[in-house]
Symmetry: C2
Subunit: 255 residues, 2 copies
């Protein structure tokens, strides 16, 4: 199993606190020692950091933990390899462009026979099931919508349908983002929480670290964090059910 972390916020927010908790699971409090990656959206662009060394020992992970890169959309992943060798090209999240937008994808689980799904425009660089699923998903979207559909709901419905198709092939917990919406699909394990005013304290499960969000936020901030399992001790996380699909934008649950 791998671990996923996502964030959707209405103001550029740093993810140092949650990322610190996640990184501990990369070889220290958790067994996910086969690489890690994080993608931050900055406007339409993405900033990517990835490493095939355990996150708890990675110098680049140290930089990311301490350097407050602020973003409204973030996807991160730590890997415990089950399909594909341990190397940079097999390290999530994966990024491709569609309609002049950067799409980011991270997956936890295994998909039986996914490599038999026919690919169109997008081809995997590495050898994981996950990247194949991502290439198929984007290829399907491109084929169905040569231009982005006018109503965002049309796009959400299609993404949900494709996720269900992948979900039927095995375990498919997924985070997916196009710089606007953050899409989540839960097959077995995913949960989320929204932080907004009145803010309070939060304590990490995986490291001795707490943060008082009252000192870090302004009253209008809305920040949603999505993770494989709860990252904090003292907050109420919403578990997702099998087959549940969620769309967040600006920290707000849209669907």
């Amino acid at each position: 199993m791998c671990e996923l972390l996502g964030m959707s916020a209405n103001v550029p927010t740093d993810i140092c606190f949650s990322f610190t908790g996640l990184m501990e699971r990369g070889g220290k409090t958790g067994p996910h020692a086969d690489g890690w990656g994080i993608v931050f959206y900055e406007g339409a662009a993405v900033r990517e950091f990835r490493d095939s060394t355990p996150s708890c020992h990675s110098e680049i992970a140290q930089l990311v933990s301490h350097y407050p890169i602020k973003s409204c959309n973030v996807i991160s992943h730590i890997r415990q390899a089950n399909s594909g060798a341990i190397c940079l090209e097999n390290t999530h999240p994966f990024v491709r462009e569609l309609w002049g937008r950067q799409w980011t994808f991270a997956h936890n689980g295994q998909l039986k026979g996914v490599k038999r799904l026919p690919l169109g425009c997008y081809r995997p660089v590495g050898t994981t099931d996950s990247e194949h699923a991502f290439c198929w998903l984007l290829g399907q979207l491109r084929e169905r919508f040569p231009k982005p559909p006018r109503r965002p709901q049309t796009l959400w419905r299609e993404i949900r349908r494709l996720c269900e198709q992948l979900g039927a092939m095995g375990v498919f917990n997924m985070l997916f983002c196009d710089a606007r919406q953050l899409y989540c699909y839960c097959s077995t394990r995913l949960c989320w929480l929204t932080r907004k005013a009145p803010f309070s304290m939060a304590e990490l499960k995986d490291a001795e670290l707490s943060v008082d969000f009252r000192n870090e936020t302004t009253p209008g901030d809305v920040v949603t964090v999505i993770a494989t399992s709860p990252l904090t001790e003292n907050e109420q996380w919403n578990p997702m059910k099998a087959g549940e699909f969620r769309v967040f934008r600006d920290g707000v649950l849209l669907l």
Copy 2:
């Protein structure tokens, strides 16, 4: 004008020395203060760092200068904006996938009317002439070769032809890489040198820094560096002529 830096090597080599020289030109010894980026190939994957702040003040540039990421193919760029706002999505190098390979592109110059060139599969995320030219170039390659041509020379010839077409539209100094070959096109300013045994000392032009490559290399190493203008004082750089196209692999000049 922007500045380009490329490296092709037969063993994974760090680019700290040359990168340090280049970064000084990003707002200190040179006026290229509108962002910088660097792409390292690690196997088939790329590792990307980019910033829209001047490289001479960038914390991430500091990390890259000191952290010896070793690679056989590197492309870097510092920007003095002339087309497109100063923001991350307009920061070179640009990366896209074709045939399951990551392609990287960086450009210095201006191209008149390039945005009238029709695009296929690839769409720009930002607003620069350069990214439009890159999307057009890759789209043309994909259209001409749905699969990679069997003879590498067939591909080189087509890339050269497309570069000449872009070169006819203005100033087009370019570095382009597919994890295997490094392609260079010179329209006005580009030069290169190959370091191999017997190695010697090199002194940077833009910073008080010298390196004795005898201590950093093994006898079989071959490392070619390509730059807008010579980065060192005491070495013989080969200037490229207008319209010259070069292909390097493993540090060796192939064409």
